[in-house]
Amino acid sequence: MTRIEVTGLYKAFGLQQVLRGVDFEAAQGTCTALLGPSGSGKTTVLRSLNTLEIPDQGVVRIEDVSVDFTTMPSRKERDRLRAQSAMVFQAHNLFPHRTVLENIIEGPVIAQKRPREEAVADAKVLLEQVGISDKLDAYPAQLSGGQQQRVGIARALALKPRVVLFDEPTSALDPELVGEVLAVIRDLAGQGWTMVIVTHEVRFAQQVADQVLFLDGGVIVERGPSAQVIGDPQEARTRQFLARILDQV
């Protein structure tokens, strides 16, 4: 069974139809990259996966939890689906009044009711992994942007999710800090995490993603292995987009 299955996703904000029937699947341990111009609906797809947005129609299944949004799902259903994934935000959204360690153990201890010692031990391993094990007691404001985003990644991983969602994780960073965050994400892909990532880093997507979905106007225009979609796009709109993005560099 595939890990993620999305069928017939529709979403409108007021009169603006943002998603017009999005379907895709992702296998366990793969990295899926969502590319597309701004307003194409890629972030809405990602946020629908953990119900930060509630689609108007469609079915989202992650592992064994499936929610049909055609009728408004109950809080409980949504919470079950949300618990399957974890989100890394563009603006990291760390809790500013909590230390690095407290940020990471908040979910495990309070929501998942795991023993605090265990959560702290796990958090230390994760911080080691993202390369900031010396900042346990720092407040987020005392860290650089790259460090903040790496703590954000550790906070997501600490939930032990089936899927890790990244919403433009490097877009808010100064250019010289992008590399350290991408390196961490690349490591995660190597460790077999199932990931969905919305990004503008085309070269990175090409290297790391197993499949690339190119969205435009609320539908998936082109999909396939990253080497194919980015290296040899078939659709005119994909080619235009890639040309525009890559020419900037």
């Binding site: 959204n93 760390l94 929501a111």
Partner: protein, 483 residues
Amino acid sequence: MRSLVLLLQLFLLAPLLASPAQAAEQPVVRVGTEGTYPPFSFHDSKTGQLTGYDVDVIKAIGQKAGWRLEFVETQWDAIFPALESKRLDVIANQVAITDARKAKYGLSATYTYSRGVVVRRKGDERIKSLADIKGKTTAQSSTSSWAKVARDAGANIEAVEGVTQAAALLAEGRVDAIVNDNIAILDYLSSTGSDKVEIVGTVDDKIGEQALAFRKDDPLLAQANQAITELKADGTLRGISERYFKADVSVPDGGDVSSQRGHRSIWAIVGETAWPMFLALLKVTIPLTALSFAIGLLLALFVALARISPVRALSGLARAFISIIRGTPLLLQLFIVFYGLPQIGLKFDSFTAATIAFSLNVAGYAAEVIRSAILAVPRGQFEAAATVGLSPAQAYRRIILPQAGRIAVPPLSNTLLSLVKDTSLGSVVLLTEMFRVSQLAAAESNEFLALYSFAGLYYWLICVGLSAIQKRTEARLSRYVIA
């Protein structure tokens, strides 16, 4: 006379000059007194010490005369036999001077004059003297001799248990006057601070005199009379009397409460009022502020959450509540709770009513502060809290409110400072908070500027203290923010 003064001076100097062994030879004078007769002779409820007007008077006399006093608390029935059997040397217990006692005992100069007075409701111009009570109703203890005086003057008698009840009936307008002993009335006025009733006239032929009783021919009597003369001359006796009765009962024409005023300096008045004001601050103003603020904040939190709620009915209710509280005067809110609600069966005492009104008022204002503070927390914080699995309640408690709190502290401090000062409105619902105490003192002494300025100083000091706390709280809540 001169030799007597010399002798007295010797007595006074003796303790200074004499060795301890000689000091022990000061005459020991055993004083008989009831100890259960307030305000003349009783035990202070706080300290347990024997005190009272008579106790203070005999102490002052003893000091002048160079006696060592030994108090012997004795029942009234046994007090004269104890004097005769030399177990006591003097009785200080409002012994009334009568011809029979004059013949049998050595009675000192008078140190208490009492007389009948007519008491009316404050400002009731119909009653100016005993003659005016004809056809009116007076409140009297039915067995007292004053009831007879009133009846003889043509008044109807409403029988009561004592002065307190009589004064209450008079204040409420159920009776027109009281005829009673001035000392009982003065004691009532002084101990309750009541300004609802006042003394207007005297019953002239009824002057009573009270004195110390010694054994006939006891040389102590002469010393006592000398001391009383001196104590009257130097104002000591008047001071003691004013302490208990706010009037001088040691002279025949004393007892007019207002006649004693205006002699004291502003500093004395402010000094006397400072402590009662401080106590009222401690016992009423501060607890009222703290309680109202705590309850008000809690209410405000719920109102703010209701206001943000997507449920229309809830947000509508919250909006209406805020609008009403902010759109009506605080004074009116106090009046509605204290005077209005009893008409639909909800009766509260002054403190409770004030707490309710102030809490609701704080809630109305603080709700908007808290709402805007919550909305000022970035949306991403709600989302991040949700994605790590926190329930909405957990998210609010652990993530949103701590951050909103930091934003809300400065405006909420304003609310608190306003509240401290607004508690002065409590006086209109009969709450004796600090400002009320200064009002009462000012009305009595006419020192408005001094007393109100002093009250202002107290409020200002509290607000300075609270501002300092605000500063520290802000610093503590902002420790995670890098400047």
